[in-house]
């Protein structure tokens, strides 16, 4: 996985206290995050967590109620041609005009985007074996997803946003699609932001992780750092959260033992560890699931910056 330079280059994406209110309800609030250039970032959260709201504000479809979005250092004003041109977007269920042929769909992309790369679009269709004269409605779901992705790529935008790109695909098509995304990201030095609730698909492809629940960012940073900052402890059942090293993210109690996922660091772990405790690394899926299962009322004070694990016991631990 790629190591990202935290302070150096301009981030591909930056949101600053971004919020969107629908009537009286906040769909997303106080969302501050960065995705470095070249990252393949996963945006994970349950349905209704605000993922689509966040993505639509990033691509310039939706105007924020508060805060702002910057793409490669330039502030985006929602709905302007400049903002729209900087981000390629594959919407959920990859909508296309079903009565168009593939060639007409590409013609549409060319007509609507000044920086359109027709050569790239046609080369991809050839490589994928998708005939240009076929109607969109006669393509398989996987092929439709590929046409959508191709349209976003041919727009020649440096940041690509994919909203649930694989959720409607079968397992083989999912794998092929994600492999294609990875290869493209590497070949063209692109930055991807991919939302999904299919956690297992993201693990091997994404090097940056953002977890969103209840309209708030719970966790964001390089996937490797985040994994390293969490441990899975097995402790006697009676052990209170306060005695654990670090912050309890998720706890499962069985008859005699409790399995606790904590955010910690090696020093705190060494200082607090007791005999009889077992500890081990967490998997990507365990980490994501632990955060998704937390109550979504958490405030942003629960959201420390990437790789800034706060050692020491915390009274804000959550038990489920």
């Amino acid at each position: 996985m790629t190591q990202h330079d935290a302070g150096g280059s301009v981030p591909a994406l930056r949101t600053d206290r971004l919020g969107r209110r629908y009537g009286k309800v906040w769909g997303l609030r106080d969302c501050t995050l960065e995705v470095p250039a070249g990252a393949v970032a996963a945006l994970v959260g349950p349905n209704g967590a605000g993922k689509t709201t966040l993505l639509e504000m990033i691509i310039g479809l939706l105007e924020p109620t508060e805060g702002q979005v910057s793409v490669f250092g330039q502030a985006s004003r929602a709905g302007t041609a400049e903002a729209l041109a900087r981000v390629g977007y594959v919407a959920q269920d990859h909508p296309l005009y079903r009565d168009f042929t593939v060639a007409e769909m590409l013609h549409f992309g060319r007509a609507m985007n000044p920086s359109w790369d027709q050569g790239l679009a046609q080369a991809r269709m050839d490589a994928l074996g998708i005939p240009l004269n076929r109607k969109i409605r006669r393509l398989s779901g996987g092929q439709q997803a590929q046409v959508s992705l191709t349209m976003a790529l041919a727009k020649h935008a440096p940041l690509l946003v994919l909203d649930e790109p694989v959720s409607s695909l079968d397992p083989v098509a999912r794998l092929e699609f994600m492999r294609d995304v990875m290869a493209t990201a590497a070949d063209h030095a692109l930055t991807f932001l991919i939302s999904s609730h299919v956690v297992s698909e993201l693990e091997r492809f994404c090097d940056w992780l953002i977890i969103l629940t209840g309209g708030h960012v719970q966790l964001a940073g390089p996937a490797d750092d985040l994994l390293a900052a969490h441990r899975l402890l097995t402790v006697p059942r009676a052990t209170p959260d306060a005695e654990l090293p670090g912050r309890t993210i998720h706890r499962t109690d069985s008859d005699r033992h409790s399995t606790v996922l904590v955010r910690t660091d090696p020093v705190a772990l060494a200082v607090h560890s007791r005999s009889g405790w077992q500890d081990g690394p967490v998997s990507f899926e365990q980490l994501v699931m632990a955060y998704l299962q937390r109550p979504s009322t958490a405030t942003t004070s629960d959201n420390p910056g990437p790789a800034a694990a706060r050692p020491g016991p915390s009274t804000k631990a959550v038990t489920r």
Partner: protein, 294 residues
């Protein structure tokens, strides 16, 4: 954008062309027999000589043969046609994108959505104006013999000649585009736009039109009976083409024939203004409105 608009509205354009062809075929068949009867009866000469007073039997025979088909049946059917065209073209323009989720595709390209809409509206409106003008030309040609007897100011002629037919189409189109944005369902938007269109159309025709300008009055001698125009010659004022509003003893209230174009401009102006308001509101709402999810 021009190609995109053409590709998305191609089917409608072909359907409209088909409608125009069907109308033309009907008009040629019907008008040919009407024209031959008109010349056979020598009505043209009689009209030129005496405004039709010298040949009441010939006029009556002509009216009996063609009057109901052309002035009543055609008028009734054609009454709803501009509205139907307008809502069929207008309602899906935005609603289809919202129904099928393709708005996320259409509006996330490099063209801001207000411009996307403005270009589409300009092109489709242009197409509808061409269609309206062509239909007007065909109907005006088709009715020409009849109009020599009745003038252009009668409802049967006025509603399909001049400018109003095109303006009716545009009005229904404007309402339907707006309804499509607000309702997000093509079929519901068609109904929701058609009903107010028809109501306004009929209220303007039967309540306001007669009074766009203050009517004139004249005194006539009605001892031999005075006609309102259609099927009766001469009209009470003695001039074919005047629109007689009422006859009270021997006072005739009427709109003179030479006000036809003034009235056409006023009525078309009403519908064009409504269209502009509806389309302007649509562009503004599309630009302003925050979300389209649910």
């Amino acid at each position: 954008m021009i190609w995109v608009s053409w590709r998305q509205h191609r089917g409608q354009a072909i359907a409209c062309l088909g409608l125009l062809v069907a109308l033309t075929v009907y008009a040629v068949i019907e008008s040919t027999s009407m024209r031959s009867a008109f010349s056979h009866d020598g009505l043209a000469a009689c009209l030129a000589r005496s405004q039709g007073t010298a040949c009441p039997t010939g006029v009556q025979a002509f009216m009996n043969e063609f009057g109901s088909a052309i002035n009543i049946a055609f008028w009734s059917v054609a009454l709803i046609v501009p509205g139907v065209i307008g809502v069929l073209v207008g309602a899906p323009l935005i609603a289809r994108e919202l129904e099928f989720g393709t708005w996320r595709l259409a509006w996330s390209q490099s063209v801001p959505r207000a411009r996307w809409l403005a270009v589409k509206l300009a092109l489709v409106t242009g197409g509808l104006i061409v269609l309206g003008a062509a239909m007007t030309a065909v109907i005006t040609w088709y009715r020409a013999p009849m109009d020599q007897l009745t003038g252009h100011f009668q409802h049967n002629a006025y509603d399909y000649e001049g400018l109003v037919l095109t303006a009716y189409i545009l009005g229904a189109f404007g309402f339907a585009v707006l309804a499509g944005l607000l309702i997000r369902r093509s079929i519901s938007a068609m109904v929701a736009a058609f009903i107010p269109w028809l109501a306004i159309r009929l209220v303007v025709e039967f309540v306001f039109r007669d009074h766009f300008l203050a009517p004139l009055t004249t005194t006539v001698n009605c001892t031999q009976g005075c006609g309102y125009g259609v099927g009766f010659v001469p009209q009470a004022t003695g001039r074919v083409g005047d629109l007689v509003l009422s006859i009270n003893r021997n006072i005739v209230t009427y709109q003179p024939a030479d006000r036809f174009w003034t009235f056409q401009f006023i009525e078309a102006g009403i519908f064009v203004a409504l269209t502009a308001a509806a389309l302007g509101a649509t562009i503004w709402l599309l630009h302003q409105r925050a979300t389209w999810t649910n």
